[in-house]
């Protein structure tokens, strides 16, 4: 069967278009039919395991709610929302200062961020539009400071498609923890769109753990930043048989600050990819990006980091660093910075390193009586430290440090 046939069959299996997102569904499905599935010649998908993308399409959409989850308890002051069906119906009482967008507001806003971020034609976005039947759309009111958790579990042998829009009004501040979980033969199909108005600040923590066997995930993060806003992303991706994460961050007039600290850890035969894009549409923007990867067994880790600095983005300061650790001869890491810098008065740096665990470091620990396993786990923890130490106490309740070490210490 040809790749596009998997996609067509999947489209046929979807429920008829309906509800508030009907227009989006129609649009996404049409796109998918027209454009089909990328081929290996398609540069953005060149390294992607397209067979696994076919498997992704083989799973039916989750309709029924399942609610027997055991999650670590969150800090008392923090509101947790669990999206466990395609319907993100919000009966929960929202914390003070957070309101649901009305249908009219959704109508006004939907598609705007996608358009600004120029991802209207992205495959993952079309897939999400085609399948999502509801969305969680929130506004953080002006000058409000709040915290929120969004947990998205998945169901065995099913696909869950979720869409979230968050608008931070002027001066609003939000700590957001998103947790995306896999299950045996499950698929996550997630789209989150975020708009930061002037002076707004979002500290976004993302824990994305596959957990089950053959879990896959396609997720897109679109962020629109107004001047003087601050967006910071700390993300962890681990345990997915096939995952692709695409953060798209646009500083609409420059003069904003973006921080990305991301870690992806692969083992067994997993393939995890991050394709990030940060674009500055005006002067004085800042970016600090650290992308780390650890790959063991015969896994494959991919990072593609685009930074666009057009002529109008003078005085941009952008730094991107990709640091990679290979723990097995069969593992593979592909990392590629893609800087497009047209403006001349900028400070942009990038670098990439691929290394192995240092024998001298290991020997130093062993020579102090520490056994090999403990020594390796100390070294790995040390390697993870500059990413995981940025996570809040609340996020650390998810015990990811142990999981990350366990995945790589063999």
């Amino acid at each position: 069967m040809k790749s596009s046939a998997f996609c067509r069959n999947w489209l046929k299996s979807l429920p008829p278009t309906q509800g508030d997102l009907q227009k989006e569904q129609v649009f996404g499905r049409k796109r998918l039919l027209e454009k089909g599935i990328p081929s290996p010649e398609d540069e953005a998908w060149r390294l992607s395991n397209l067979n696994r993308l076919n498997e992704f399409f083989a799973l039916p959409l989750t309709i029924k709610e399942r609610s027997n989850h055991h999650f670590p308890e969150q800090e008392k002051s923090i509101k947790r929302l669990i999206l466990n069906t395609n319907k993100c119906i919000l009966e929960d009482i929202l914390p003070e200062g957070i309101t649901k967008l009305s249908n009219r507001e959704i109508e006004e806003n939907i598609g705007n961020i996608i358009k600004t971020c120029n991802i209207k034609n992205d495959l993952a976005v079309s897939i999400n539009q085609a399948a999502s039947s509801d969305l969680l759309a929130l506004r953080i009111n002006q000058n409000v400071t709040q915290s929120l958790e969004i947990i998205i579990p998945s169901v065995q042998q099913q696909m869950i498609s979720t869409r979230v829009i968050i608008i931070l009004e002027k001066g609003a501040r939000l700590d957001l923890l998103e947790v995306i979980l896999g299950n045996n033969q499950s698929a996550q199909n997630h789209l989150i769109e975020i708009k930061l108005e002037a002076n707004a600040e979002l500290n976004h923590e993302l824990i994305s753990f596959g957990q089950g066997k053959q879990a896959s995930s396609l997720s897109t993060l679109a962020v629109e930043q107004s001047p003087q806003s601050k967006y910071s992303l700390n993300s962890l991706h681990q345990g997915w048989h096939y995952a692709r994460f695409e953060p798209r961050i646009i500083q609409t007039q420059g003069d904003a600050s973006t921080t990305i600290k991301s870690l992806q850890v692969t083992s067994a035969k997993e393939q995890i990819a991050t394709h990030s894009l940060v674009r500055f549409e005006g002067p004085n923007g800042r970016l600090d990006q650290l992308q780390k990867a650890v790959a063991t067994d015969s896994s494959h880790s991919i990072f593609n980091g685009s930074i666009d600095v057009p002529k109008k983005a003078q005085k941009t300061e952008a730094a991107q660093l990709s640091k990679n650790l290979i723990l097995s001869k069969r593992a593979r890491i592909d990392t590629k910075p893609e800087l497009e810098i047209v403006a001349d008065d900028v400070r942009c740096t990038h670098g990439a390193t691929v290394s192995q665990l240092q024998e001298e470091e290991l020997f130093y620990l062993l020579s102090r009586g520490i056994n090999k396993e403990a020594a390796n786990s100390l070294l790995l923890q040390g390697y993870y430290d500059d990413i995981i130490s940025n996570f809040s106490k609340n996020a650390q309740r998810w015990n990811f440090i142990e999981k990350l070490i366990k995945a790589t210490n063999k």
Binding site: E361, Y364, S367, R368, L378, Q381, G382, D386
Partner: protein
């Protein structure tokens, strides 16, 4: 002090070794007994650090022939971590920086490994902090160094103090200190020397690898060995060290050779 009837802790016999197919050691012999302090001196590249790393069990160095015994046990078959646990300590000439690994946690895990071997209980974070606070005094080190990553960004002298701190915590039977005195200012040298003196006891032994008389003025060695071209070519007492300071290795090397010819 020459306690020739006290127990032998370390005995090295006709040790030949190589690294990366390059032969470095050409028949080293050394006997170290309880309570003794030995100094090993010798020109750059003569194989002093190589010897110390082989004793500690570094995987890059291959023993071609000969033996190393610790209290009569052949240690060449033991993993480096086991050697450390039974009481062999190496203070590195170039201590390794390990970013992201907390010095405190590293010291605690190390200490507990050794305590385990000694049949002592493991120390939890609080108990360990008490112990380490005491040990810090020996090397006059600021507790702030515990909060940092292992050796990361430590100055040369700070790294050396951190080595002695580890020695204090691990309470070894044989401590090999590879140029622990190099790069220390006068005050730091005194601190480190007094640390070494405080930590040595009648049941343990210390091997000081050094280039300078300075340390040996503070910690008096029972034996001074000169290593050249992968061998110990001469053994004497502290006067030999003074001789070297005065005349250099070249002269002593010549004299030794003459004697050998005369034999």
């Amino acid at each position: 002090m020459n306690l020739s009837n006290s127990e032998i802790l370390l005995s090295i016999e006709d040790l030949h070794a190589s690294v990366e197919d390059k032969k470095i050691l050409y028949g080293v012999n050394l006997i170290v007994r309880e309570g003794e302090i030995h100094a090993i001196m010798g020109p750059n590249g003569s194989g002093k650090s190589t010897l110390s790393k082989i004793i500690a069990g570094h995987p890059s160095y291959k023993v071609i022939s000969g033996s190393i015994k610790f209290k009569g046990i052949n240690i060449l078959e033991l993993e480096p971590e086991k050697r450390a646990r039974i009481g062999i300590f190496l203070g590195f000439q170039y201590p390794v920086e390990i970013p992201g690994v907390s010095n405190l946690e590293f010291l605690r895990v190390s200490t507990n490994s050794r305590r385990n071997e000694l049949g002592k209980s493991e120390l939890d974070t609080f108990e360990f902090e008490e112990l380490v606070t005491e040990s810090l005094k020996i090397v006059e080190m600021d507790p702030a160094f515990l909060e940092r990553s292992v050796n990361e960004g430590f100055s040369g002298g700070e790294k050396k103090r951190n080595e002695i701190l580890q020695m204090a915590l691990l309470d070894p039977l044989v401590a090999i200190l590879d140029e622990t005195d190099s790069g220390l200012d006068i005050d730091a040298l005194r601190v480190v020397a007094s640390g070494i003196t405080k930590l040595s006891n009648p049941n343990s032994a210390t091997i000081l690898i050094t280039h300078y008389q300075r340390l040996l003025n503070e910690v008096t060695p029972d034996f001074v060995h000169i290593m050249a071209n992968g061998k110990i070519i001469k053994t004497g007492n502290k006067e030999l060290a003074m001789d070297i300071e005065k005349s250099g290795y070249e002269l002593i090397n010549k004299r030794t050779k003459k004697k050998e010819v005369a034999k």
